[in-house]
């Protein structure tokens, strides 16, 4: 189970970004994109993430994972299909073997929701502003 290594890598990168930004007091949530073919199990990752966050700036942060289905496109016939699991990477339309994987290998941090002491001058309130997406 390498989800713990993945979780530690996420925590590490978020902490680095927070240090760069300066004055971050707490991390509320981290949004992660996980492709169907990334080889990571979201449930195992959520479990590991909680442990990896303990004692860090991310303590108590929520992990939001967005699954990305695997999609492929046949170079010769341009057919596009959902690869499924286990993935089918030969073309179901023409049987071709020259395939482009369009999506499904993603394993990336999309964005982070955090609290900092750097309130913009034009905002008189310290109330959290809802996420825009």
């Amino acid at each position: 189970m390498h989800e713990m290594s993945v979780a530690l890598a996420v925590v590490d990168q978020v902490e680095e970004a927070a240090t760069r930004a300066g004055d971050v007091t707490a991390v509320r949530s981290v949004r992660l994109q996980v492709g169907e073919l990334a080889g990571v199990v979201p449930d195992a990752l959520a479990f590991s993430f909680e442990l990896a966050c303990a004692g860090t700036l991310l303590e108590g942060a929520e992990l939001i994972t967005e699954a990305v289905p695997g999609r492929a496109r046949c170079t010769p016939c341009a057919h596009e299909w959902a690869v499924g699991m286990p993935p089918r990477l030969t073309c179901p339309a023409c049987g071709g073997t020259r395939t482009d994987l369009l999506a499904g290998r993603e394993l990336q941090i999309l964005d982070v929701h955090w609290e900092d002491g750097l309130g913009p001058a034009h905002t008189p309130t310290r109330e959290p502003i809802p996420e825009e997406r």
Partner: protein
């Protein structure tokens, strides 16, 4: 105040950067890494023993590094070939990472080495996600493991440059269906070469060494569908490349 900060960073970006650096560093010294992935008990040590002996007979300077959770048994077996061998104990970790490998090579890997065989931790799940800076990634499965192994572990087989079947000497006894196995490999990794081997009978021994030598000499290796960078065709479902390190905020 509360902010949403865009990061768009690949989670394994650090490992990928270390792998890239190690590959370039070794290539400059004329060295290529062969990363061997399989489940425990697939016979990769037995095959590697034969390949190392053959390399020695042919005076090809090779070295081997074996990673296990515990014991130095594999290194002891591989060392009988007479080539430089190192055992890495991962202390429970289920896979090797590029930075770990680089640390173990530092000061150990002889300068004249051309090929370094890395026997990864026996595990078809986790090691598949970590580029070690290898030039050739080989995934092995023995005939006893079932023809559907490539479908059960699609990333391990889907990212391989070469697939090796081991223990073919007992294929008949376990009713190994070679055509079904090949079809399953093709489904997850179209066009990848599949080699049949038996370390006991000598079948296919040397093929791994030949492919590895070709790779170190610059012959292009197979390009797995799963390993290629996605090509974008102007479709609305494109996903940004995951390398940016500059964060911008919208609050």
């Amino acid at each position: 105040m509360c902010r949403v900060v865009d990061l768009r960073q690949a989670v394994l970006a650090k490992n990928d950067a270390s792998a890239h650096e190690l590959r370039a560093h070794l290539a400059a010294r004329g060295i290529a890494v062969v990363n061997l992935l399989s489940s425990p008990g697939s016979g990769k040590t037995a095959l590697l023993e034969r390949e190392l002996l053959l390399a020695r007979e042919r005076a090809v300077p090779v070295a081997a590094l074996s990673a296990d959770l515990a014991t130095e048994n594999d290194a002891a077996r591989l060392a009988r070939s007479g080539v430089p061998v190192k055992q890495v104990l991962t202390d429970g970790l289920c896979h090797l990472e590029a930075g770990m490998l680089a640390g173990h090579l530092d000061g150990w890997l002889p300068d004249d080495t051309r090929l370094l065989f890395v026997e990864n931790v026996g595990n078809l799940v986790c090691p598949a996600s970590y580029d070690l800076g290898e030039t050739l990634r080989v995934t092995l499965a023995s005939v006893t493991e079932g023809e559907d192994k490539p479908l059960k572990y699609p990333t391990a087989f889907g990212l391989a440059h070469l697939v090796v079947v081991t223990k073919t000497d007992i294929a008949e006894a376990v009713e190994f269906d070679e055509a079904a196995f090949r079809a399953n490999v093709e489904q997850v990794n179209p066009g990848v070469e599949v080699i049949l081997t038996s370390a006991r009978r000598g079948q296919g021994v040397g093929a791994l060494l030949d492919r590895a030598l070709a790779a170190v000499d610059g012959t292009p290796v197979h390009s797995p569908v799963m390993a290629r960078q996605p090509h974008h065709h102007g479709h609305p479902h494109t996903h940004p490349e995951a390398t940016g390190t500059m964060a911008h905020t919208h609050s």
